[in-house]
């Protein structure tokens, strides 16, 4: 994991910046509901380089899912996105359906949070995997079926040749998520987006799926955009992290740096709220609750819950500041000495 991060950090300091695999720039998403328009994602920017695993960290309501869906144009009706989403040289924002379909499932694939509802109950899992490779790779029925069996084996499903004929409801949650992973990886995408793939699973199963993702990543150069609210998963899997709160990016850093010393109070709060098995300290929840989109506070969105708030934080929106290879959206980050999880 670190070698890749080192490599890109090295390239950055050398001045040569390879074209990122994915470059999201100034992405904003508005949702029209009951006659009102609410901005749920505001001016979000981040990059993913080849072979990198980037975590998109945030609680529900942070806008991370919307951000991820907008990459492939999967926003629900009533949601409009503006800004730039570059995949290699291609601009994805505003791309017509036909061109987008060439990328979906092939160069960029998604794993969803709820495997039970995101797989079609009326089709066998084998068929759902096979149709993807038939469509994108032009494989015939027989070859596609073989590939489906291969993929199921790769994700650790026993008796794959028999299981391709089974329907989703015949799998447990953990097994079905493996199926989802198999389906997403079927055409060897350059970028895999995983939307909280372990959240809906039991604790023991969570670890297994994370292990699977880690081992798959070791074998291939697939980049990963990993959505989560669990820093444990970030530590296990990711090179860099983008922390979101109330639709904004509040901090960007390498995972190591983030754990060692976060720059944003929200990140510090999240780290502190993490349950740790190797310590005797209780997790400390962040006081207050995530506000609804309609009730975002003035100034810094986090200020009502922040232990370091000063009057200046409550007046004007805070801009993102870049420092070294990190970014942070906090006025006071230089003077604060926040606690990491070390």
């Amino acid at each position: 994991m670190s070698s890749r991060a080192d490599a890109s950090a090295l390239e950055e300091t050398n001045g040569t910046r390879p074209l990122p695999l994915l470059a999201v720039s100034g992405l904003s998403i508005d949702i029209a509901m009951a006659g009102r328009t609410t901005r749920v994602v505001d001016d979000v920017s981040f990059e993913i380089h080849d072979g990198e695993a980037v975590a998109l960290v945030g609680e529900s309501g942070s806008g991370k899912t919307m951000t991820a869906l907008s990459i492939l144009g999967l926003l629900p009706r009533g949601a409009t996105a503006s800004g730039s989403i570059r995949f290699r040289e291609q601009q994805l924002a505003g791309l017509p359906e036909s061109s987008l379909n060439r990328i979906r499932g092939k160069s960029i694939a998604i794993i969803y949070q709820e495997p039970m509802s995101s797989l079609n109950p009326a089709l066998t899992v084998g068929e759902q995997i096979a149709e993807t490779v038939r469509h994108h790779l032009g494989l015939g029925r027989g070859a596609a079926k073989e590939r489906a069996v291969e993929l199921l084996a790769m994700v650790g499903i026993p008796e794959p040749a028999a299981r391709i004929h089974d329907y989703p409801h015949m799998f447990s949650g953990g097994m079905l998520q493996r199926v989802g992973i198999a389906m997403a990886l079927s055409c060897e995408p350059a970028l895999l987006i995983a939307d909280e793939p372990t959240t809906a699973l039991d604790a023991t199963v969570q670890a297994q799926v994370l292990e699977l993702l880690a081992s798959l990543r070791d074998k291939s150069r697939t980049s990963l955009l990993f959505l989560t609210h669990d820093f444990g998963a970030v530590a296990a899997l990711c090179d860099r992290a983008v922390v979101m709160y109330c639709g904004e990016v509040v901090e960007v850093a390498s995972a190591e740096a983030l754990f060692d010393r976060p720059l944003h109070p929200y990140t510090e709060g999240l780290l502190g709220a993490m349950a740790r098995l190797d310590r005797n300290t209780e997790p400390i929840p962040i006081k207050g609750t995530v506000p609804l989109h309609a009730d975002f506070p003035e100034g810094c969105h986090f200020h009502p819950r922040c232990s370091y708030v000063v009057p200046a934080c409550t007046i004007a929106p805070i801009a993102e500041i870049a420092v070294a290879s990190r970014r942070v959206r906090c006025r006071r980050f230089r003077e604060l000495n926040l606690k990491g999880s070390a």
Binding site: I31, A32, M33, A34, S70, G73, L74, L75, P76, R77, G78, A79, T80, A81, A93, G94, L95, E97
Partner: protein
């Protein structure tokens, strides 16, 4: 960037099954379709009520010199096969058809409402037994059942009304039963029971008022169904008997003269039936919407 096939961000307002929130009439009339339907139906009803008092509107006056004549001033829809004014026949037919439908609906209500209440409120074995019976009833093609009932009771308007009432009773039963089942577990019902109120009292004073909403919707829908079935029965000769005019019996008459009669002879009852049924259907949709539930209709 939005995908046409993507899910809709819909709003969903859900109230308890049968509650009728305050101000529902204004909410009902705020929707254009239901508002127009309500006005239309009111006009039809008014017309039907005052018809006997309007001079010149005589469904039985025969004018043999005008047999099968087309529309003209004063006789907008022309004359039928024995020279009767079609407009008058149509208006008086409305009285018959609407009354028949209303009586049928009341019969259905009288059977389905109490049984549904009892079934839903008491549940248990009584509910099981009653449900079986009504399920069997529903399994039938409605018109076939109506025909069988009329066959047994001999063709005529009263047997037709009873028959239509019987075939619509199961829907009232189901709707009332499910609403009652939902309400059973409400706290105020429990409270009343604990306070020692008798079951009848609870059903009448507490459950019944709260199912007003679903009941009204079902009443409108049953009127639609009753009008169509009455028209069908009368058309085949098992309902309203000629020379009495109902929309269905007028059509029965018109069939024999289709080649030679003016178009209005056949068209006017059909248009009237479709318009009135459509109005009742739209009204029921509006009622559903006004009571706070949004269907994807």
């Amino acid at each position: 960037m939005t995908t046409p096939l993507s899910p809709a961000a819909g709003t969903h307002v859900e109230l308890a099954p049968g509650r009728a929130p305050a101000g529902f009439v204004s909410r009902l009339l705020a929707q254009p379709g239901p508002a127009v339907s309500a006005v239309f139906l009111a006009c039809v009803l008014a017309m039907a009520l005052v018809a006997p008092f309007i001079p010149g509107l005589d469904p039985n006056e025969v004018s043999l010199s005008n047999v099968l004549e087309g529309p003209s001033w004063g006789h907008w829809l022309g004359y039928d096969n024995i020279g009767r004014d079609i407009v008058s026949r149509l208006v008086f037919a409305s009285r018959v058809s609407l009354t028949a439908a209303a009586v049928a609906m009341l019969v259905a209500l009288a059977i389905g409402l109490p049984l549904g209440l009892v079934s839903g409120y008491f549940a248990g074995r009584l509910d099981l037994a009653l449900s079986r019976v009504f399920d069997a009833l529903i399994a039938f093609p409605p018109l076939v059942l109506a025909i069988v009932v009329v066959a047994v009771l001999r063709p005529g308007i009263v047997p037709a009304m009873i028959a239509i009432g019987i075939i619509n009773a199961p829907t009232f039963y189901r709707v009332v039963r499910s609403a009652a089942l939902d309400l059973r577990s409400e706290t105020y019902i429990e409270a009343a029971r604990v306070a020692g109120a008798s079951s009848t009292r609870i059903m009448l004073r507490h459950v019944l008022p709260n199912i007003r909403a679903v009941l009204l919707v079902q009443i409108a829908l049953t009127m639609s169904s009753a009008i169509i079935v009455e028209a069908s029965l009368s058309f085949i000769g098992l309902g309203v008997q000629l020379p009495q005019a109902s929309w269905g019996s007028m059509l029965r008459q018109a069939t024999s003269y289709m080649g030679s009669a003016p178009l209005t002879f056949v068209l006017s009852p059909i248009v009237t039936i479709v318009a009135v049924v459509l109005a009742f259907n739209t009204l029921s949709d509006g009622l559903r919407g006004a009571f706070g539930r949004r269907d994807t209709r």
